[in-house]
């Protein structure tokens, strides 16, 4: 039995890095400290895909890595418009090969941000993002707002490590010296902990932000008595809390990215933070979902100039979410092959989009079987990043942390699979004498 410390969790965007594990016979037997129940579940492991597989006559049949990689390369090379989607649950080193493959194929590359915080990225492109690292929140924030987010369930360590419950330099008393505001359409577990719970009518976040901005700009007179189901008195109370706080931190989740005005909800949330800055220090941050969804946005941007939803058909990057996002391509039936890596559109895309996934050749690269496997024509199992493979990831505040390798495995890492597919694609092109 060996105890391993400073293990980095590869589940959600919190990327907790102080986990202590016990390992015996190349198996994690106990998560001693640091992880939340969700992270613990990941670290203890789940049933794996045993072997590479290729679908023949409707059935997935086991094959070698070589055969699966060759078949994948053939599918991609033949394709007039391949979609390479996923990328957020693997390391940046693999993502880089993904960008190179995209460029080589003239493919469309998109990542899970497009169904998560893609709207937040669009908003940043409109107004920027006044933000900070999570340690800043821990040390300074005396007013924490969770808007359309339920960290008690989705990011279970978030409040404890970084925000409302944590203790820092100017926040030595923990939650005693802080205020928690939760804005949501329903009374979630998180909302139950709040000092102030603001219940917004579903889809009405946008005008609520506008009203708060008008108040912070000194124009409360124009705001009607009720906005988005929220009484004006409560909006004034919230604005006052903002004005009186020393450091206001707003976290937002998919409660605002998934609904109504989508990215413009986030624009308005950021504008609210900018307006708060007229009175105090204020920051805002999206609660990113997957542990490296921030990382694929980073890699994609420094390598292509754009964070997601790019097409390289003409040899350079054209960026346009809504035109080139994976859900759009599938919904419109725009792509004629798909490679799904480190994600599960089968579970997380609208059924209307999945109908096309069922029609086209699909390559799946993942450690685990999931609904996407049902659509896959080639299945390539891989090492689990952060447990069986190391590499760089970016936390939700864009702090880079290196995942550690804890266990040995015979599964190949994502990076190597992708490199081999790229090599095969190039070999096919050479063969055709292009």
């Amino acid at each position: 039995m060996v105890e391993i410390t400073d293990v980095v969790c590869s589940l959600c965007g919190c990327v907790c890095d102080d986990i202590v594990l016990e390992v015996e016979n190349n198996k994690v037997v106990k998560v001693k400290r640091g992880a939340c129940s969700v992270g613990k579940s990941k670290l203890l492991g789940h049933e794996r895909i045993k072997s590479p597989m290729i679908r023949e006559n409707g059935e997935l049949k086991e094959c070698s890595y070589d055969e699966a990689i060759k078949k994948s390369a053939e599918i991609l090379y033949k394709s007039r418009r391949p979609l390479l989607y996923g990328w957020s649950s693997t390391v940046c080193e693999a993502d880089k090969v993904g960008v190179e493959l995209t460029e080589d194929l003239g493919a469309v590359m998109d990542n899970t941000a497009s169904v998560c915080h893609g709207p937040s990225v669009l908003a940043i492109q409109d107004v920027g993002l006044p933000s900070c690292t999570l340690g800043e929140v821990k040390n300074r924030a005396d007013l924490v707002i969770y808007w359309g987010a339920n960290p008690a369930q989705a990011h279970a360590n978030h409040m404890k490590r970084y925000s409302y419950v944590s203790k820092g330099y100017w926040t030595a008393e923990g939650k005693k010296g802080k205020k928690l505001v939760v804005v949501d359409v329903r009374k979630t577990m998180t909302a139950k902990m709040a000092d102030v719970f603001v219940q917004v009518e579903q889809g009405q976040d946008y005008p609520v932000f506008s009203a708060l901005r008008a108040i912070l700009q000194g124009h409360e007179d124009v705001v009607p008595d009720k906005v988005g189901g929220v009484p004006k008195e409560q909006l004034l109370e919230l604005a006052n809390m903002v004005k009186e706080a020393k450091f206001v931190m707003t976290f937002f989740g998919m409660g605002v990215t998934h609904t109504g005005a989508r990215h413009n909800n986030i624009v308005n949330a950021i504008q609210f933070t900018r307006a708060a800055h007229l009175h105090t220090k204020a920051s805002i941050m999206p609660l990113r979902g997957h542990y490296n969804v921030a990382g694929i946005n980073q890699v994609c941007t420094w390598e292509t100039g754009f964070p997601f939803a790019i097409e390289m058909a003409r040899g350079y990057a054209w960026y346009n979410p809504g035109e080139l996002s994976a859900t759009d391509l599938l919904y419109r039936g725009d792509c004629d092959a798909a490679m799904i890596i480190a994600s599960d559109p089968g579970a997380h895309f609208p059924g209307e989009s999945l109908k096309h996934l069922a029609k086209i050749p699909v390559i799946q690269i993942d450690p685990y079987a999931n609904p996407t496997t049902e659509f896959a024509d080639v299945v390539i199992p891989v090492a689990v990043s952060g447990i069986e493979a190391e590499g760089n990831v970016y936390r939700m505040d864009n702090i880079p942390i290196r995942l550690r390798k804890i266990l040995d495995t015979d599964y190949l890492p994502d990076e190597e699979i992708l490199e081999r597919i790229l090599t095969e694609v190039r070999a096919l092109r050479e063969k055709e004498g292009e």
């Binding site: 139950k192 579903q202 989508r262 919904y331």
Partner: protein, 127 residues
Amino acid sequence: MEGMNVNLISGRTTVQGQNLDSKLTEKYFGEVARCDMNGSDMEKLGVAKDDNVKVTTAYGAVVVKAKQDDGNPEGLIFIPMGPWCNAVVSGDTHGAGMPSFKGIDAEIEKTEEEVLQVKELMRTYMG
């Protein structure tokens, strides 16, 4: 028909997160193929915990199990993010790349139809 019009939203839950890597298990099925709603809405529909309900939108229909959560206001139902909820979500992103996973006009009714297992559900997309 005893159906009623509701607003459907989806989102993460702890158990859904714990089973992200094991979506073919009973645990995931039990957590995600369900619909949370206010107790008074359940009364109106005449359903009890674990009764099957059918949720229908302009984009599809799905059968899930009912569960009470009074944190939801009346008229708002919650299905954890996953294949069952997505069966009734539109693929249209309004040029933003993001489908409307929340705020979907839906009709909910009690049903005797069975809840599909995940593989069965995926099979419905295959022509």
